[in-house]
Protein backbone atom coordinates (compact mmCIF):
# COMPACT_ATOMS: atom_id res chain seq x y z
CA UNK A 1 0.00 0.00 0.00
CA UNK A 2 1.37 3.40 -0.92
CA UNK A 3 1.51 5.77 2.07
CA UNK A 4 0.71 9.45 1.56
CA UNK A 5 3.92 11.27 0.74
CA UNK A 6 4.99 14.71 1.95
CA UNK A 7 6.52 15.06 -1.52
CA UNK A 8 5.02 15.82 -4.90
CA UNK A 9 6.33 14.52 -8.22
CA UNK A 10 6.23 17.01 -11.08
CA UNK A 11 6.39 14.48 -13.88
CA UNK A 12 5.18 10.94 -14.40
CA UNK A 13 7.88 8.65 -15.77
CA UNK A 14 7.59 4.96 -16.69
CA UNK A 15 7.59 3.02 -13.45
CA UNK A 16 9.05 -0.30 -12.36
CA UNK A 17 8.46 -2.34 -9.21
CA UNK A 18 10.99 -1.90 -6.40
CA UNK A 19 10.81 -3.69 -3.06
CA UNK A 20 11.58 -1.70 0.06
CA UNK A 21 11.53 -3.62 3.33
CA UNK A 22 9.07 -6.11 1.89
CA UNK A 23 6.66 -3.56 0.38
CA UNK A 24 6.50 -3.16 -3.38
CA UNK A 25 6.59 0.38 -4.78
CA UNK A 26 6.25 1.51 -8.36
CA UNK A 27 9.18 3.90 -8.89
CA UNK A 28 10.31 5.84 -11.97
CA UNK A 29 12.96 3.90 -13.92
CA UNK A 30 16.32 5.67 -13.83
CA UNK A 31 15.27 8.08 -11.08
CA UNK A 32 17.45 8.84 -8.08
CA UNK A 33 16.57 6.07 -5.61
CA UNK A 34 16.41 8.27 -2.50
CA UNK A 35 14.22 10.84 -4.26
CA UNK A 36 11.96 8.14 -5.65
CA UNK A 37 11.50 6.47 -2.25
CA UNK A 38 10.71 9.84 -0.63
CA UNK A 39 8.19 10.62 -3.34
CA UNK A 40 6.65 7.19 -2.82
CA UNK A 41 6.07 8.01 0.83
CA UNK A 42 8.97 6.25 2.54
CA UNK A 43 9.72 8.47 5.51
CA UNK A 44 12.19 6.38 7.52
CA UNK A 45 15.09 4.88 5.57
CA UNK A 46 16.93 3.34 8.49
CA UNK A 47 17.40 3.30 12.23
CA UNK A 48 20.80 4.26 13.59
CA UNK A 49 22.99 1.52 15.03
CA UNK A 50 23.82 3.79 18.00
CA UNK A 51 20.40 4.66 19.43
CA UNK A 52 17.91 3.24 16.97
CA UNK A 53 16.77 6.74 15.98
CA UNK A 54 14.95 7.02 12.65
CA UNK A 55 16.76 8.70 9.77
CA UNK A 56 16.02 9.72 6.20
CA UNK A 57 17.87 11.55 3.42
CA UNK A 58 19.49 14.76 4.64
CA UNK A 59 22.00 16.02 2.05
CA UNK A 60 21.02 14.19 -1.19
CA UNK A 61 24.59 14.52 -2.42
CA UNK A 62 26.44 11.56 -0.99
CA UNK A 63 27.98 13.35 1.98
CA UNK A 64 25.87 12.63 5.08
CA UNK A 65 25.20 8.86 4.90
CA UNK A 66 21.78 9.18 6.48
CA UNK A 67 20.00 7.57 3.51
CA UNK A 68 21.84 4.25 3.90
CA UNK A 69 19.94 1.21 2.66
CA UNK A 70 20.92 -2.40 2.10
CA UNK A 71 21.02 -3.92 -1.38
CA UNK A 72 22.38 -7.44 -2.00
CA UNK A 73 23.90 -7.48 1.47
CA UNK A 74 25.83 -4.25 0.93
CA UNK A 75 24.92 -1.05 2.76
CA UNK A 76 24.89 1.86 0.32
CA UNK A 77 23.71 5.43 -0.06
CA UNK A 78 20.28 5.56 -1.68
CA UNK A 79 20.96 9.09 -2.96
CA UNK A 80 23.88 7.77 -5.03
CA UNK A 81 21.85 5.04 -6.75
CA UNK A 82 19.30 4.93 -9.53
CA UNK A 83 16.09 2.96 -9.75
CA UNK A 84 16.44 -0.24 -11.73
CA UNK A 85 13.94 -2.95 -12.60
CA UNK A 86 13.29 -5.34 -9.71
CA UNK A 87 15.59 -3.62 -7.23
CA UNK A 88 15.30 -5.15 -3.77
CA UNK A 89 16.06 -2.69 -0.97
CA UNK A 90 15.94 -3.16 2.77
CA UNK A 91 16.74 -1.16 5.86
CA UNK A 92 20.35 -1.84 6.86
CA UNK A 93 21.04 -4.36 9.59
CA UNK A 94 17.64 -5.99 9.27
CA UNK A 95 18.94 -8.89 7.22
CA UNK A 96 21.22 -11.68 8.45
CA UNK A 97 24.91 -11.52 7.60
CA UNK A 98 25.36 -13.76 4.59
CA UNK A 99 28.54 -15.51 3.59
CA UNK A 100 29.98 -14.55 0.24
CA UNK A 101 29.64 -17.36 -2.26
CA UNK A 102 33.25 -17.58 -3.42
Amino acid sequence: MKPASPFLELEGNPKVPVTFDGDVFELPLGANLAAALLAAGVQVFRHTPVSGAPRAPFCMMGACFDCLVEIDGVVRQACMLEVTQGLCVSRPGTGEATDATE
Binding site: P6, F7, P57, C59, M60, A63, C64, D66
Partner: protein, 464 residues
Protein backbone atom coordinates in the same frame (compact mmCIF):
# COMPACT_ATOMS: atom_id res chain seq x y z
CA UNK B 1 48.80 1.73 -16.09
CA UNK B 2 48.36 4.85 -18.21
CA UNK B 3 49.84 7.99 -16.70
CA UNK B 4 47.58 11.02 -17.00
CA UNK B 5 48.89 14.56 -17.22
CA UNK B 6 45.94 15.55 -15.10
CA UNK B 7 43.36 13.81 -12.98
CA UNK B 8 40.37 15.98 -12.14
CA UNK B 9 38.15 14.97 -9.26
CA UNK B 10 34.64 16.36 -9.47
CA UNK B 11 32.52 17.21 -12.52
CA UNK B 12 31.01 20.47 -11.34
CA UNK B 13 31.80 23.81 -12.98
CA UNK B 14 35.44 23.89 -11.84
CA UNK B 15 36.18 20.31 -12.83
CA UNK B 16 34.38 20.44 -16.19
CA UNK B 17 36.01 23.73 -17.14
CA UNK B 18 39.45 22.55 -16.06
CA UNK B 19 39.23 19.28 -17.99
CA UNK B 20 37.99 21.07 -21.09
CA UNK B 21 40.70 23.73 -20.89
CA UNK B 22 43.48 21.22 -20.18
CA UNK B 23 42.57 18.91 -23.07
CA UNK B 24 42.49 21.91 -25.39
CA UNK B 25 46.21 22.29 -24.68
CA UNK B 26 46.84 18.64 -25.50
CA UNK B 27 46.95 17.22 -21.98
CA UNK B 28 45.77 13.69 -21.24
CA UNK B 29 42.97 14.17 -18.73
CA UNK B 30 40.80 11.80 -16.74
CA UNK B 31 37.84 13.22 -14.85
CA UNK B 32 36.42 11.19 -11.98
CA UNK B 33 32.99 12.01 -10.63
CA UNK B 34 30.71 10.06 -8.32
CA UNK B 35 27.49 11.16 -10.00
CA UNK B 36 26.12 9.26 -12.98
CA UNK B 37 26.17 12.41 -15.13
CA UNK B 38 28.22 15.60 -15.28
CA UNK B 39 27.15 18.85 -13.66
CA UNK B 40 28.12 18.71 -10.01
CA UNK B 41 25.51 19.81 -7.50
CA UNK B 42 24.92 23.24 -9.05
CA UNK B 43 24.17 21.84 -12.52
CA UNK B 44 23.02 18.46 -11.30
CA UNK B 45 21.84 16.26 -14.14
CA UNK B 46 21.43 19.38 -16.31
CA UNK B 47 21.52 17.46 -19.60
CA UNK B 48 18.54 15.32 -18.65
CA UNK B 49 16.41 17.90 -16.91
CA UNK B 50 17.05 21.29 -18.56
CA UNK B 51 14.31 20.67 -21.12
CA UNK B 52 11.83 19.44 -18.53
CA UNK B 53 12.28 22.02 -15.80
CA UNK B 54 14.44 24.76 -17.26
CA UNK B 55 11.69 27.34 -16.74
CA UNK B 56 11.46 26.55 -13.03
CA UNK B 57 15.19 26.28 -12.42
CA UNK B 58 16.18 29.31 -14.44
CA UNK B 59 18.87 30.33 -16.90
CA UNK B 60 21.68 30.13 -14.36
CA UNK B 61 20.97 26.41 -14.19
CA UNK B 62 20.48 25.65 -17.86
CA UNK B 63 23.76 27.47 -18.57
CA UNK B 64 25.40 24.31 -17.19
CA UNK B 65 24.77 22.64 -20.56
CA UNK B 66 27.48 24.86 -22.04
CA UNK B 67 29.96 23.22 -19.69
CA UNK B 68 28.71 19.64 -20.06
CA UNK B 69 28.72 20.08 -23.84
CA UNK B 70 32.26 21.43 -23.75
CA UNK B 71 33.36 18.51 -21.62
CA UNK B 72 31.82 15.93 -23.94
CA UNK B 73 33.56 17.44 -26.95
CA UNK B 74 36.89 17.82 -25.21
CA UNK B 75 38.38 14.33 -25.34
CA UNK B 76 38.48 14.05 -21.58
CA UNK B 77 38.10 10.52 -20.24
CA UNK B 78 35.08 11.06 -18.00
CA UNK B 79 34.55 8.22 -15.53
CA UNK B 80 31.05 8.60 -14.10
CA UNK B 81 29.82 6.93 -10.95
CA UNK B 82 33.42 6.74 -9.76
CA UNK B 83 33.70 7.05 -5.98
CA UNK B 84 37.23 8.13 -5.10
CA UNK B 85 38.34 6.68 -1.77
CA UNK B 86 42.05 7.29 -1.71
CA UNK B 87 44.57 9.69 -3.24
CA UNK B 88 48.21 8.99 -2.58
CA UNK B 89 51.36 10.89 -3.45
CA UNK B 90 52.63 10.23 -6.86
CA UNK B 91 49.66 10.53 -7.69
CA UNK B 92 47.75 7.30 -7.35
CA UNK B 93 43.96 7.60 -7.19
CA UNK B 94 41.88 4.64 -6.04
CA UNK B 95 38.17 4.53 -6.73
CA UNK B 96 35.19 2.25 -7.02
CA UNK B 97 33.05 2.10 -10.13
CA UNK B 98 30.32 -0.43 -10.89
CA UNK B 99 31.18 -2.44 -7.80
CA UNK B 100 34.86 -2.80 -8.68
CA UNK B 101 37.87 -0.98 -7.32
CA UNK B 102 40.40 0.48 -9.74
CA UNK B 103 43.33 2.81 -9.80
CA UNK B 104 44.72 5.48 -12.11
CA UNK B 105 47.86 7.57 -11.90
CA UNK B 106 48.60 11.11 -12.95
CA UNK B 107 51.35 13.69 -12.58
CA UNK B 108 48.88 16.42 -11.59
CA UNK B 109 45.65 16.42 -9.65
CA UNK B 110 42.94 19.03 -9.56
CA UNK B 111 40.53 18.68 -6.66
CA UNK B 112 37.19 20.17 -7.67
CA UNK B 113 35.09 18.62 -4.94
CA UNK B 114 32.94 21.69 -4.29
CA UNK B 115 31.10 22.68 -1.18
CA UNK B 116 29.04 21.19 1.59
CA UNK B 117 26.23 22.83 3.46
CA UNK B 118 27.54 24.42 6.62
CA UNK B 119 26.37 22.09 9.40
CA UNK B 120 23.30 23.56 11.11
CA UNK B 121 22.85 21.58 14.32
CA UNK B 122 19.64 22.80 15.91
CA UNK B 123 17.44 20.68 18.19
CA UNK B 124 15.66 18.08 16.06
CA UNK B 125 17.89 18.39 12.98
CA UNK B 126 18.39 14.62 12.75
CA UNK B 127 14.67 13.88 12.33
CA UNK B 128 13.41 12.46 9.05
CA UNK B 129 11.89 15.33 7.10
CA UNK B 130 14.73 17.68 7.99
CA UNK B 131 17.14 18.26 5.14
CA UNK B 132 19.59 20.78 3.91
CA UNK B 133 18.13 23.38 1.59
CA UNK B 134 20.61 22.09 -0.96
CA UNK B 135 19.00 18.66 -0.65
CA UNK B 136 15.59 20.18 -1.26
CA UNK B 137 16.94 21.87 -4.34
CA UNK B 138 18.64 18.70 -5.59
CA UNK B 139 15.31 16.86 -5.25
CA UNK B 140 13.68 19.50 -7.39
CA UNK B 141 16.50 19.82 -9.91
CA UNK B 142 17.32 16.22 -10.52
CA UNK B 143 14.09 14.44 -9.74
CA UNK B 144 11.28 16.96 -10.03
CA UNK B 145 10.31 16.13 -6.46
CA UNK B 146 8.98 18.96 -4.29
CA UNK B 147 8.11 19.12 -0.61
CA UNK B 148 4.41 19.93 -0.28
CA UNK B 149 4.61 21.53 3.18
CA UNK B 150 8.11 22.87 3.69
CA UNK B 151 9.56 25.60 5.87
CA UNK B 152 12.90 27.11 4.84
CA UNK B 153 15.09 28.00 7.79
CA UNK B 154 18.37 29.90 8.00
CA UNK B 155 19.95 32.59 5.89
CA UNK B 156 21.57 33.31 2.58
CA UNK B 157 20.89 33.66 -1.13
CA UNK B 158 20.38 29.92 -1.65
CA UNK B 159 17.28 30.06 0.57
CA UNK B 160 15.79 32.74 -1.70
CA UNK B 161 16.74 30.81 -4.81
CA UNK B 162 15.06 27.60 -3.73
CA UNK B 163 12.04 29.52 -2.45
CA UNK B 164 11.70 31.27 -5.80
CA UNK B 165 12.06 27.97 -7.65
CA UNK B 166 9.39 26.39 -5.45
CA UNK B 167 7.08 29.31 -6.19
CA UNK B 168 7.64 28.87 -9.93
CA UNK B 169 6.98 25.14 -9.59
CA UNK B 170 3.58 25.96 -8.06
CA UNK B 171 4.34 24.72 -4.53
CA UNK B 172 5.64 27.67 -2.53
CA UNK B 173 7.23 27.04 0.86
CA UNK B 174 4.97 27.59 3.87
CA UNK B 175 7.38 30.17 5.29
CA UNK B 176 10.91 31.53 5.29
CA UNK B 177 12.35 31.64 8.78
CA UNK B 178 15.44 33.81 8.39
CA UNK B 179 18.15 34.19 11.00
CA UNK B 180 19.93 37.28 9.73
CA UNK B 181 19.02 40.59 11.35
CA UNK B 182 18.69 44.18 10.16
CA UNK B 183 21.94 44.86 12.01
CA UNK B 184 23.68 42.31 9.79
CA UNK B 185 22.49 44.13 6.70
CA UNK B 186 23.66 47.46 8.15
CA UNK B 187 27.12 46.01 8.74
CA UNK B 188 27.13 44.53 5.25
CA UNK B 189 26.47 47.96 3.73
CA UNK B 190 30.08 48.88 4.53
CA UNK B 191 31.01 46.42 1.80
CA UNK B 192 28.44 47.73 -0.65
CA UNK B 193 31.25 49.02 -2.86
CA UNK B 194 32.40 45.49 -3.59
CA UNK B 195 28.81 44.40 -3.90
CA UNK B 196 28.20 47.01 -6.60
CA UNK B 197 31.03 45.52 -8.63
CA UNK B 198 29.05 42.30 -8.47
CA UNK B 199 25.77 44.09 -9.33
CA UNK B 200 24.32 41.28 -11.47
CA UNK B 201 24.18 39.17 -8.31
CA UNK B 202 22.33 41.94 -6.48
CA UNK B 203 19.82 42.24 -9.29
CA UNK B 204 19.18 38.49 -9.20
CA UNK B 205 18.73 38.67 -5.43
CA UNK B 206 16.14 41.42 -5.72
CA UNK B 207 14.25 39.47 -8.41
CA UNK B 208 14.17 36.32 -6.28
CA UNK B 209 12.85 38.24 -3.29
CA UNK B 210 10.20 39.87 -5.45
CA UNK B 211 9.04 36.43 -6.61
CA UNK B 212 8.81 35.24 -3.01
CA UNK B 213 6.95 38.34 -1.84
CA UNK B 214 4.50 38.23 -4.76
CA UNK B 215 3.63 34.67 -3.81
CA UNK B 216 2.88 35.94 -0.27
CA UNK B 217 5.29 33.51 1.37
CA UNK B 218 5.49 34.60 5.04
CA UNK B 219 8.97 35.77 6.04
CA UNK B 220 10.27 35.96 9.59
CA UNK B 221 13.55 37.83 9.91
CA UNK B 222 15.91 37.73 12.89
CA UNK B 223 14.59 34.37 14.16
CA UNK B 224 16.21 32.85 17.24
CA UNK B 225 15.75 29.71 19.39
CA UNK B 226 15.07 27.59 16.34
CA UNK B 227 14.10 23.99 16.99
CA UNK B 228 12.36 21.23 15.11
CA UNK B 229 9.65 19.24 16.83
CA UNK B 230 8.61 15.73 16.05
CA UNK B 231 8.81 12.17 17.29
CA UNK B 232 9.60 9.96 14.32
CA UNK B 233 9.37 12.74 11.72
CA UNK B 234 9.56 16.53 11.61
CA UNK B 235 6.20 17.93 12.64
CA UNK B 236 6.84 21.64 13.23
CA UNK B 237 9.43 24.38 13.42
CA UNK B 238 9.46 26.54 16.54
CA UNK B 239 11.33 29.82 16.95
CA UNK B 240 11.22 33.26 18.45
CA UNK B 241 11.00 36.44 16.48
CA UNK B 242 10.94 39.87 18.12
CA UNK B 243 10.35 38.23 21.50
CA UNK B 244 7.34 36.21 20.35
CA UNK B 245 7.26 32.43 20.17
CA UNK B 246 6.10 30.97 16.85
CA UNK B 247 5.27 27.46 15.76
CA UNK B 248 4.71 26.38 12.17
CA UNK B 249 3.43 22.87 11.56
CA UNK B 250 5.03 21.28 8.50
CA UNK B 251 6.35 17.99 7.07
CA UNK B 252 9.67 19.17 5.71
CA UNK B 253 12.27 21.55 7.09
CA UNK B 254 15.02 22.79 4.80
CA UNK B 255 18.04 24.17 6.66
CA UNK B 256 20.69 26.46 5.27
CA UNK B 257 23.11 28.99 6.64
CA UNK B 258 25.79 29.05 4.03
CA UNK B 259 28.05 26.57 2.35
CA UNK B 260 31.63 25.70 3.22
CA UNK B 261 34.47 24.14 1.23
CA UNK B 262 34.56 20.35 1.11
CA UNK B 263 38.17 19.91 2.20
CA UNK B 264 38.18 16.14 2.81
CA UNK B 265 40.36 15.14 -0.15
CA UNK B 266 42.78 18.05 0.33
CA UNK B 267 43.18 17.27 4.00
CA UNK B 268 43.84 13.61 3.27
CA UNK B 269 46.89 14.84 1.34
CA UNK B 270 48.03 17.10 4.21
CA UNK B 271 47.37 20.34 2.32
CA UNK B 272 47.76 23.19 4.85
CA UNK B 273 44.51 24.98 5.65
CA UNK B 274 43.83 28.29 7.35
CA UNK B 275 40.79 29.66 9.14
CA UNK B 276 38.79 32.20 7.12
CA UNK B 277 37.04 34.48 9.57
CA UNK B 278 34.78 36.07 6.96
CA UNK B 279 33.43 32.73 5.71
CA UNK B 280 33.70 31.09 9.15
CA UNK B 281 35.37 27.97 7.82
CA UNK B 282 38.73 26.46 6.95
CA UNK B 283 40.08 27.03 3.44
CA UNK B 284 43.13 25.47 1.81
CA UNK B 285 46.18 27.70 1.44
CA UNK B 286 46.56 28.29 -2.29
CA UNK B 287 48.53 30.40 -4.71
CA UNK B 288 46.88 32.46 -7.48
CA UNK B 289 46.62 29.40 -9.69
CA UNK B 290 45.04 27.15 -7.13
CA UNK B 291 48.34 25.44 -6.40
CA UNK B 292 48.74 23.90 -2.94
CA UNK B 293 51.86 23.31 -0.89
CA UNK B 294 51.88 19.76 -2.31
CA UNK B 295 53.73 19.62 -5.62
CA UNK B 296 51.40 18.93 -8.56
CA UNK B 297 48.23 19.26 -6.49
CA UNK B 298 45.72 21.99 -7.33
CA UNK B 299 42.31 22.96 -5.99
CA UNK B 300 39.60 24.95 -7.79
CA UNK B 301 35.98 25.80 -7.18
CA UNK B 302 34.12 26.09 -3.92
CA UNK B 303 36.49 23.57 -2.37
CA UNK B 304 39.10 26.33 -2.52
CA UNK B 305 36.88 28.86 -0.73
CA UNK B 306 33.29 29.77 -1.51
CA UNK B 307 32.92 31.82 -4.67
CA UNK B 308 30.00 30.27 -6.54
CA UNK B 309 29.63 28.61 -9.92
CA UNK B 310 31.09 31.32 -12.17
CA UNK B 311 34.16 31.78 -9.99
CA UNK B 312 34.56 27.99 -9.90
CA UNK B 313 34.49 27.77 -13.68
CA UNK B 314 37.12 30.46 -14.04
CA UNK B 315 39.29 29.00 -11.29
CA UNK B 316 39.14 25.60 -13.00
CA UNK B 317 40.39 27.09 -16.23
CA UNK B 318 43.08 29.10 -14.46
CA UNK B 319 44.43 25.99 -12.74
CA UNK B 320 44.33 24.04 -16.01
CA UNK B 321 46.34 26.75 -17.77
CA UNK B 322 48.97 26.63 -15.04
CA UNK B 323 49.15 22.84 -15.27
CA UNK B 324 49.44 23.03 -19.07
CA UNK B 325 52.45 25.27 -18.55
CA UNK B 326 53.87 22.89 -15.93
CA UNK B 327 53.79 19.96 -18.36
CA UNK B 328 55.35 22.09 -21.10
CA UNK B 329 52.30 22.66 -23.30
CA UNK B 330 52.29 26.43 -22.76
CA UNK B 331 55.12 28.87 -22.26
CA UNK B 332 55.01 31.14 -19.25
CA UNK B 333 54.10 34.03 -21.56
CA UNK B 334 51.26 32.07 -23.17
CA UNK B 335 50.05 31.03 -19.76
CA UNK B 336 49.98 34.57 -18.43
CA UNK B 337 48.30 35.98 -21.53
CA UNK B 338 45.61 33.35 -21.47
CA UNK B 339 45.00 33.61 -17.75
CA UNK B 340 44.93 37.42 -17.44
CA UNK B 341 41.28 38.02 -18.45
CA UNK B 342 40.15 35.07 -16.34
CA UNK B 343 42.00 36.36 -13.30
CA UNK B 344 40.38 39.78 -13.75
CA UNK B 345 36.86 38.50 -14.05
CA UNK B 346 37.34 36.07 -11.17
CA UNK B 347 38.34 38.99 -8.94
CA UNK B 348 35.30 40.95 -10.07
CA UNK B 349 32.95 38.03 -9.44
CA UNK B 350 34.44 37.47 -6.00
CA UNK B 351 33.91 41.12 -5.05
CA UNK B 352 30.39 40.55 -3.73
CA UNK B 353 31.45 37.90 -1.19
CA UNK B 354 32.32 40.15 1.78
CA UNK B 355 28.91 41.79 1.43
CA UNK B 356 27.08 38.45 1.30
CA UNK B 357 29.11 37.00 4.19
CA UNK B 358 28.11 39.93 6.40
CA UNK B 359 24.52 40.30 5.22
CA UNK B 360 23.79 36.59 5.69
CA UNK B 361 26.04 35.42 8.52
CA UNK B 362 25.93 31.94 9.97
CA UNK B 363 23.29 31.36 12.64
CA UNK B 364 25.36 31.67 15.82
CA UNK B 365 23.44 29.20 18.02
CA UNK B 366 24.13 26.50 15.41
CA UNK B 367 27.87 27.17 15.45
CA UNK B 368 28.14 26.32 19.15
CA UNK B 369 24.86 24.54 19.94
CA UNK B 370 23.34 23.97 23.35
CA UNK B 371 24.46 20.87 25.26
CA UNK B 372 21.60 18.53 24.35
CA UNK B 373 21.90 19.03 20.59
CA UNK B 374 23.48 16.25 18.55
CA UNK B 375 26.47 17.54 16.62
CA UNK B 376 27.84 14.29 15.17
CA UNK B 377 24.91 12.75 13.33
CA UNK B 378 26.69 9.44 12.64
CA UNK B 379 27.81 8.64 16.18
CA UNK B 380 25.14 10.73 17.93
CA UNK B 381 27.54 12.81 19.99
CA UNK B 382 26.08 15.95 21.58
CA UNK B 383 27.54 19.40 22.05
CA UNK B 384 27.55 18.73 25.80
CA UNK B 385 29.69 15.63 25.22
CA UNK B 386 32.23 17.71 23.31
CA UNK B 387 32.36 20.27 26.11
CA UNK B 388 32.93 17.46 28.62
CA UNK B 389 35.87 16.13 26.55
CA UNK B 390 37.32 19.62 26.46
CA UNK B 391 37.15 19.49 30.24
CA UNK B 392 39.13 16.24 30.13
CA UNK B 393 41.96 17.96 28.31
CA UNK B 394 40.98 17.64 24.66
CA UNK B 395 42.48 20.65 22.93
CA UNK B 396 41.70 19.55 19.39
CA UNK B 397 39.27 17.43 17.38
CA UNK B 398 41.53 14.40 17.07
CA UNK B 399 41.86 13.70 20.77
CA UNK B 400 38.14 14.48 21.07
CA UNK B 401 37.41 11.93 18.35
CA UNK B 402 39.32 9.31 20.34
CA UNK B 403 37.50 10.23 23.55
CA UNK B 404 33.97 10.39 22.23
CA UNK B 405 33.77 9.16 18.62
CA UNK B 406 32.64 12.38 16.86
CA UNK B 407 33.75 12.15 13.24
CA UNK B 408 34.21 8.38 13.34
CA UNK B 409 31.11 7.52 11.35
CA UNK B 410 30.75 7.06 7.61
CA UNK B 411 30.45 10.80 6.88
CA UNK B 412 33.98 11.21 8.24
CA UNK B 413 33.17 14.41 10.05
CA UNK B 414 31.77 16.26 7.05
CA UNK B 415 28.74 17.38 9.07
CA UNK B 416 30.33 17.79 12.49
CA UNK B 417 33.92 18.86 11.91
CA UNK B 418 33.40 22.61 11.97
CA UNK B 419 31.04 22.39 14.94
CA UNK B 420 33.46 20.28 16.97
CA UNK B 421 36.27 22.72 16.22
CA UNK B 422 34.07 25.67 17.23
CA UNK B 423 32.93 24.03 20.47
CA UNK B 424 36.48 23.11 21.48
CA UNK B 425 37.79 26.56 20.55
CA UNK B 426 35.13 28.17 22.71
CA UNK B 427 35.65 25.79 25.65
CA UNK B 428 39.44 26.09 25.58
CA UNK B 429 39.48 29.84 24.82
CA UNK B 430 41.48 29.22 21.66
CA UNK B 431 41.02 30.22 18.04
CA UNK B 432 39.67 27.74 15.49
CA UNK B 433 43.11 27.91 13.86
CA UNK B 434 44.82 26.79 17.08
CA UNK B 435 42.17 24.15 17.63
CA UNK B 436 42.60 22.60 14.20
CA UNK B 437 40.54 20.05 12.33
CA UNK B 438 40.15 16.29 12.01
CA UNK B 439 42.96 14.38 10.42
CA UNK B 440 41.32 12.94 7.31
CA UNK B 441 42.49 9.59 6.02
CA UNK B 442 41.29 7.09 3.45
CA UNK B 443 38.72 5.90 2.75
CA UNK B 444 37.33 9.28 1.69
CA UNK B 445 34.12 7.36 1.04
CA UNK B 446 33.37 3.86 2.34
CA UNK B 447 34.54 1.00 0.14
CA UNK B 448 33.71 -2.66 0.65
CA UNK B 449 36.43 -4.97 1.90
CA UNK B 450 35.70 -7.16 -1.11
CA UNK B 451 36.53 -4.32 -3.49
CA UNK B 452 39.70 -3.57 -1.55
CA UNK B 453 40.77 -7.19 -1.50
CA UNK B 454 40.37 -7.48 -5.27
CA UNK B 455 43.25 -5.01 -5.57
CA UNK B 456 45.51 -7.15 -3.41
CA UNK B 457 48.56 -8.17 -5.40
CA UNK B 458 50.77 -10.44 -3.33
CA UNK B 459 54.22 -8.93 -2.93
CA UNK B 460 57.29 -10.51 -1.38
CA UNK B 461 57.08 -9.86 2.36
CA UNK B 462 59.54 -7.08 3.05
CA UNK B 463 58.87 -6.69 6.74
CA UNK B 464 58.89 -9.49 9.29
Amino acid sequence: MQQNDLIVIGAGPAGMAAATEATSHGLTVTLLDEQPRAGGQIYRDVDRVADKRGDILGKDFTYGRTLTGGLRASGTTHLTGAMVWSIEDGFRVSFTKDGRAAQITGSHILLATGALERPMPVPGWTLPGVMTAGAGQILLKQSGVLARRAVLVGSGPLLYLIAAQMVRAGTPPMALVETQTRGDMARAMRDIGGAMRGWPYLVKGVRMLATIIRARVPRYVGATDIAIEGRAQAEAVTFNVAGRAKRIACDTVLLHHGVVPNTQAARSLDVPHRWDDGQQCFVPELDTWGGTGVDGLFIAGDGAGIGGAKVAEMAGRIAAIRIAEAVGRLTVQQRDARAAPLLRSRASDNAIRPFLDKAYPAYQPALTPEDATIVCRCEEVTAGDIRRYAGLGCLGPNQTKAFGRPGMGPCQGRYCGLTVTALLAEANAQTPEQTGYYRIRPPLKPVTLGELAMMDTPEPDAAE
